[in-house]
Amino acid sequence: METIKNAFDFSDFPRIDLSIAGVVLVYLLSFPALQLSSFAMVTMIQFLMFSLYGMGWNTIGGYGGQVDLGKAQYVGIGAYTTAVMLIRWDIPFWVSMPIGMCLAVGWSFIIGYPLFRLKGHYFAIATIATSLVLKDLFEVWDFVGAARGLEISPIKYHPPDFLRLIFKDDVYYYYVILVFFLIGIFYINWFRKSRLGYQLRCIKDNEDVARSLGINVHLAKVKTYAIATAFVSVVGSFHACYIKNIEPEDTMSLPISILIALMAMLGGAGSLWGPIIGAGILIPLKSYLKEWLGATAGLVGIDLILYAIIIMLVSAFEPRGIWGIVEKMRRRRRT
C-alpha cells in the first residue's frame, strides 16, 4: 500500500512543475485527436520510446552515477526475443515481452556482476565492448537472421491484433507506448524515494562513505543495472512489434546507446523529468532536421553535425543539463 502511495505522490515538486506536467499529459492524451501528419505521429512514438529508454538509463546513470554506454544490447535482446518468438512460434507480445525482460535481466547480471568492479571510464568502455561483442554475435547467428535481421510480416495477422501488437494504424501503438510511459514515470517516482534510490544517490556522492554506512555497494549497483535493463528491454520488445524489421545495426549499434545516455544527460541526469525533457528536445529536432536538411538539400549527415554540436556544447558548458539550468535559476530566485 505504502509503495503505491509513494508512486503516485508527487507532492515534493513545486506546483508549477506539476501544472506543466499536467498540461503535457493532457496534450499527450489528446495528441492523436489533433489529427496531425503521420510523420508527427512517428516522431511522437519515437519520443515516448526514447523517454522510456532515458528513464531506464537514468536509474543507473543519473541516480547512480555509473555511466553505461552499452544499453543498446538490451534493446536488441528485447527486440529479438519478441520477434523470434512471434515469427517462429507465434507467441504473443504480452508473453514474449516478460520473457525478453527476464533474458535481458539475466544477461545484465552475468555481465554486470564482473563489470561493476570497475569504475568511471573503465566501466563505460567495458559496457561498450560487451555491447559490440553481442552485436557481432547477432550479426553471424543464423537463428536470428544474421545481418539481414528479422522481419515480422503483418499480412499473416489480422490487424488490429492486440495480443501480438500488430496494428495498421499508429494510433494504437501510440496509446500502448503511452501507457508504458506513464507506468515508467510512476515507477521512477517510486524508485527515487525507495531505499535503493537513496542508497544509489549516496553511492554517487561518495562510494567509501556509502560502504561505511553499511550499504552493499556492489549489490545495489547490480540491482539498479537490472532495473535499467528491464526498462530498456521492454521498449525493445515494443520496438520489434512497431518497426517490424529489426537488424543488429539499428537495434544494437553504439549510436543507440549513446543516444539513450544523451537524452538523459541533455535533460538532466538524476532527475525525474530530465530524460523526458531531453527526449522531447532531441527526438523532434533529430527527425525534423533529417527531414528538412537531409532529404531536401541532399546534405548527408548535416543533421548529425548539428546534433554533435549540441552534444559538445552541453557537455562543455552545462553538464547538468537543462534541468540543472532550471534548478540554478530557482536557487537564485530564492536567495
Binding site: L132, D136, L254, M265, S315
Partner: protein, 304 residues
Amino acid sequence: MDILLSSIVAGLLLGMVLAIVALGLTIIFGVMDIVNFAHGEFLMIGMYTGLLTAQATGIDPLWTLPFAAIVGFLMGILCYIGFVKFLLRGPMIAQLLGTFGLMLLLRNLALLIFGSEDRALHHGILVGRSFDIGMGVILPATKLAAAGFSVVAFWGVWLLMHRTKIGKALRATALNAQGARYMGIPTERMNALAWGIGCGTVCIAGALIVNFWSVSPFIGLLFTMIAFAIVALGGFGSVPGAFFAGLVVGMITEIPGFWDFLTYTLDWDWMANVPMTSFKYMWVYLAYFLIMVFRPRGLFGWKQ
C-alpha cells in the same frame, strides 16, 4: 605450418601498426585522464591527409608523413584549446559524451566533405610490392614500412618522455596535475601539448595505414575500439605497454588464421564450418572485456 608462420608474421606486423594507433590515446589518457572517443576519427583525418596530399601533389604517399604529423599536431592543440579544456571542468560523463560528440562531428564533417565511398591509394613506391622470404611468408612492403616507422615513432616518443625536460613536465602533469602546477609547470600548456603529440602520432599512423587500407568516413570507430583494447591491455598511460599490447592485439586479430591452421592440422570438419572471419574483431572486444575485468591496471599500467 605455412599458415601458422604467415599468420604470426602478419599479426606482428599489424600489431606494430596498431600500436602506433594506440600510442596517442595512451599519451592523452596518461596526462589528463580523459578518454578520447574521437581517436579513430583523428586516424581517419590522417588517412585522408595522406591520401589527398599524395593525389594532389603527385609525391609518394610515404613523404606525406611529416605533413600529416603537422596537421594532426595542430588539430590536436586546436581541439584542446577550443573544446577539451572546457570538458575537463565537468564530471566524467560530460567528458565521455563530449569526446563522443567530437567524434560524431568529425565523422560527419568528413562524410559531408569527402563523401561516403571507400578510397584507396593505387600508386606509390610501396603499394603492391612485397617480399617473399620463404616458408610461405610474404611481407607486404607497405606493412613492413609502417611497422618500421611505428618502431621509430615509439622510440622517439619514449625519448621525448624520458630524456627531455618537456617529457619530464608531461610525466609530472600525469602523476599529479596539482602538484605539477605548484612546481611551476604550465599544466594547461602540457595538456595541449599532450593532445598535439597524441593526435600527431595518430595522424602519422593514418598516413601509414592508408598505404594498405582503404579509407572511408566510417573507419574511425573500429580503430578507436582496437586502440582502447590495446591501451587497456598495456595499461592506461604506459608507452612501452602500448607497444607490447599492440603486438598481442595484432595476434588476436589473426585468430582466424590460427583457426585455419588448426583446422588443417587436426582435420576436423566442424571447425571449417565456423565463420571465423566474421568474428575477427569480436575477439579484440572480448579480450578488452576480460582484461578490464581481471586486470584493470593492464600489463604495465600504474594508474588504477
